[in-house]
């Protein structure tokens, strides 16, 4: 396949979106859903083709810029609209279209009874389009287009049920918080243009070699870009929107707020690894923020009661792991985790969607329990996802997480401890979730019990596929392979062989030991969860009572929303109020009124001129014309 056909990849979803936008209401639901799925499937097919044709090339040539059209050509500012096809972007489009397709299929059933069916698929396809532009774009500006596009779609889909106040509020919150990140990103872009005179990846990255490591401008650029990444990928301190984003339909949470969009920040930082490598400071910041977020969010996840919120905090936490990987220079490990996480987190969200669907919208795990029987298949797949997330051998999460931790261990032991603690929490809260949802006594309301049913095939098949991927997805990154694992090998042309830091220095024995250790930690977490929620269910209550302060702190998510409210929103309001009462009313209005009075006075003086009679105007005009020409004659 000629790589120029890569343009079709985003084009198909765009077409689907446009068609559904204009004709969606006229078409039947079947047609709408089929169209949307077919669009993404076609993209996936083209992506697979692109993968094979890229694979057929020599590794050092695996970077092709496909020029589509000249987008902006103003003076020295020249931005072509082009796609960059390299191993990284191909991997990303495979994940986006592959997982995206499964979630589309799932959605056709999940959203079946919703009135905004066509609108939903319009947004979903538009999201796929934007995400593909984001990962394929060959310049910061093209990336930014996709970046903003996915942000918009995220906003639209979080607030999909806009009649619900909490949903539209959550949408707004996501939008506003993202705006802060985007502001940083835009500033970073401007600084890049100012520094390199271009926004194209190839030119910027080749231009970066002129700079020595640790130059302040590099650090500034990287930190600004990282602000954007924090917003999009929900890292401290901008993570607050993601848990609220769970107000959207569950497949959306799976696609956008777990599998794809939130990894955009990771992708972007990985894409810019050339710049980050030049700034140890920025790398350190990335690593610390990632590590702290990983543990921080995991601890919040320990006590949440909403099934989707647990998963949301888990997502934040896992994203933290990815950044941790990037921060220690293990870029391919980070991307590896992006991929495996996409599989198992999408699986978990879709599974939770299946549960919610079965319970007619119930999300509180305190009102679930004993669903293993009636929802056997969902349980089975959910368990797979949980094991993968907890990092149990041989599930996908084990490999990617351990590669990250291995790399961290080689760089910074403190962060490694943080990461392992996070892994423990992860295993604990996930199995808490499983035990509370699927085991124990049924705490369902009688009405929910009445409606209880296993999900239809269109929802289950994607679950099975993802469950399989959650197992085998990790095997492409098998450790201890001679010459690095296949995934790292595949990504080598992008990140360079030196990206696999540390791995070679220490012996295999240590690596295996660490693996065993983290596996043990995970199993310990599972055991504690079993102890708490299966063996002695009174224990967590007692613990919560005895450590009331800590428990409440976690339950209220460290009061971050409240702190933001008090530290930012409230002062902002009071400042606005002050500006309003004093500056606006007194100063601005005063000036405006003065101007108004002046104009009114001048107007009443000049109103005689405005007779409203066109003839008079024409006369004055010609008079002026003659006078002006006369002036030039005299001059």
């Amino acid at each position: 396949m000629d790589l120029k056909w890569i343009a079709l990849v985003p084009l198909f979803p765009l077409l689907g979106s446009v068609i559904n936008l204009f004709l969606g209401r006229r078409l039947s639901k079947g047609v709408v859903g089929t169209l949307a799925c077919a669009a993404v499937l076609a993209s996936f097919a083209v992506s697979v083709g692109a993968f094979f044709s890229l694979n057929a090339m020599a590794p050092e040539h695996r970077q092709v810029v496909v020029h589509l059209f000249d987008w902006i050509d103003a003076g020295s500012f020249h931005v072509p609209f082009a796609f960059l096809v390299d191993p990284l972007s191909v991997l990303m489009i495979l994940v986006v279209t592959g997982v995206g397709f499964l979630i589309h299929v799932y959605s056709t059933s999940y959203m079946e009874h919703d009135e905004g069916y066509a609108r939903y698929f319009t947004y979903l396809n538009l999201f796929t389009f934007s995400m593909l532009v984001l990962v394929l774009g060959s310049s910061f500006l093209t990336l930014f287009v996709g970046w903003e596009g996915v942000g918009l779609c995220s906003y639209l889909l979080i607030g999909f049920w806009y009649e619900k106040k909490s949903a539209s509020d959550a949408g707004k919150k996501a939008f506003v918080v993202n705006r802060i990140g985007d502001f940083g990103f835009a500033l970073g872009m401007m600084l890049i243009f100012w520094t390199f005179g271009s926004l194209n990846f190839t030119e910027v990255f080749s231009g970066a070699s002129r700079f020595a490591a640790g130059e302040p401008v590099m650090t500034t650029i990287c930190l600004l870009l990282f602000v954007g990444a924090c917003g999009k990928s929900a890292q401290l301190p901008l993570y607050v929107w993601l848990p609220d984003a769970m107000e959207g339909p569950t497949p959306v949470s799976a696609l956008i707020h777990a599998a794809t969009m939130v990894t955009a920040g990771v992708y972007m930082v990985a894409r810019c690894h050339v710049l980050y490598m030049l700034s140890p400071t920025a790398m350190g910041v990335v690593a610390v923020v990632g590590g702290v977020t990983a543990l921080f969010a995991a601890t919040i996840g320990l006590v949440q009661n909403d099934i989707k919120r647990v998963l949301a905090y888990s997502t934040v936490s896992q994203l933290g792991y990815m950044f941790l990987a990037l921060g220690v220079g293990a870029f391919s490990a980070g991307i590896f985790h992006v991929m495996t996480h996409a599989f198992f987190k999408a699986l978990l969200f879709l599974g939770s969607g299946s549960v919610i669907h079965a319970l007619s919208g119930e999300q509180d795990i305190r009102k679930m329990g004993a669903l293993k029987g009636p929802l056997g298949r969902t349980y089975f797949t959910f368990l797979f996802g949980t094991l993968a997330l907890a990092g149990i051998f041989p599930f996908a999460g084990f490999f990617s997480k351990d590669e990250i931790l291995w790399n961290v261990y080689n760089t910074n032991r403190v962060l490694w401890v943080v990461g392992v603690a996070g892994a423990f929490c992860t295993a604990f809260y996930m199995f808490r979730l499983v035990f509370l949802t699927f085991f124990g006594e049924s705490r369902l309301t009688s009405e929910a019990k009445h409606h209880l049913h296993e999900s239809p095939p269109r929802m289950l098949v994607p679950l099975f596929v993802l469950a399989i991927l959650s197992v085998v997805g990790g095997w492409i990154g098998l450790p201890l392979m001679p010459g690095g694992n296949p995934l790292t090998h595949w990504l080598d042309p992008v990140f360079g062989p030196e990206a696999a830091v540390g791995g070679e220095g220490a012996g295999h024995g240590l690596e295996i030991g660490l693996m065993a250790l983290s596996l043990g930690v995970a199993l310990f977490g599972i055991m504690v969860a079993w102890l708490f929620y299966r063996k002695t269910p009174k224990l967590p209550v007692a613990l919560g009572a005895s450590m009331k302060g800590a428990y409440n702190m976690l339950l209220n998510k460290y009061y971050v929303d409240e702190i933001y409210g008090a530290a930012i929103v409230r002062p902002f309001f009071s400042l606005s109020g002050m500006l309003w009462t004093f500056f606006d009313v007194k100063v601005v209005d005063g000036v405006v009124n003065a101007v108004g009075r002046f104009v009114r006075g001048a107007g009443s003086a000049a109103r005689g001129l405005q007779s409203g009679y066109v003839g008079g105007y024409a006369l004055a005009m010609v008079l002026g014309l003659v006078v002006v020409i006369s002036y030039y004659f005299i001059k």
Partner: protein, 100 residues
């Protein structure tokens, strides 16, 4: 060859006649005609210059002027018709909608 200044003189005269008409007349339709007169004066100058420079751009410009004139007349006459409906007259002195 007739010298270009001859044509420009005609153009000047026609234009001035148009201007004078716009100022003098009270009938909106006639004023409109005077505007057409001015446009024609401009067209004449365009074509005259086109011949002088041996290029066709002037003629193309006339083509555009005519198109714009056609559009303008369509809208203008529609305005005059609706004005007549309100005021039973096309005398511009009886219409002062431009007054604030």
């Amino acid at each position: 060859m007739v010298p270009i200044s001859n044509y420009l003189w005609v153009s000047v005269i026609l234009f001035s006649l148009g201007v004078t008409g716009v100022i003098l007349r009270r009938n909106a339709i006639v004023i409109f005609m005077c505007i057409e007169l001015m446009m024609n004066a401009a067209n004449l100058a365009f074509v005259a210059f086109a011949r002088q420079t041996h290029t066709l751009d002037g003629q193309v410009m006339v083509f555009f002027v005519m198109t714009v004139a056609a559009a303008e007349v369509a809208v203008g006459l529609a305005i005059i018709i609706s004005m007549f409906r309100h005021h039973e007259s096309v005398n511009i002195d009886q219409v002062d909608l431009l007054r604030g």
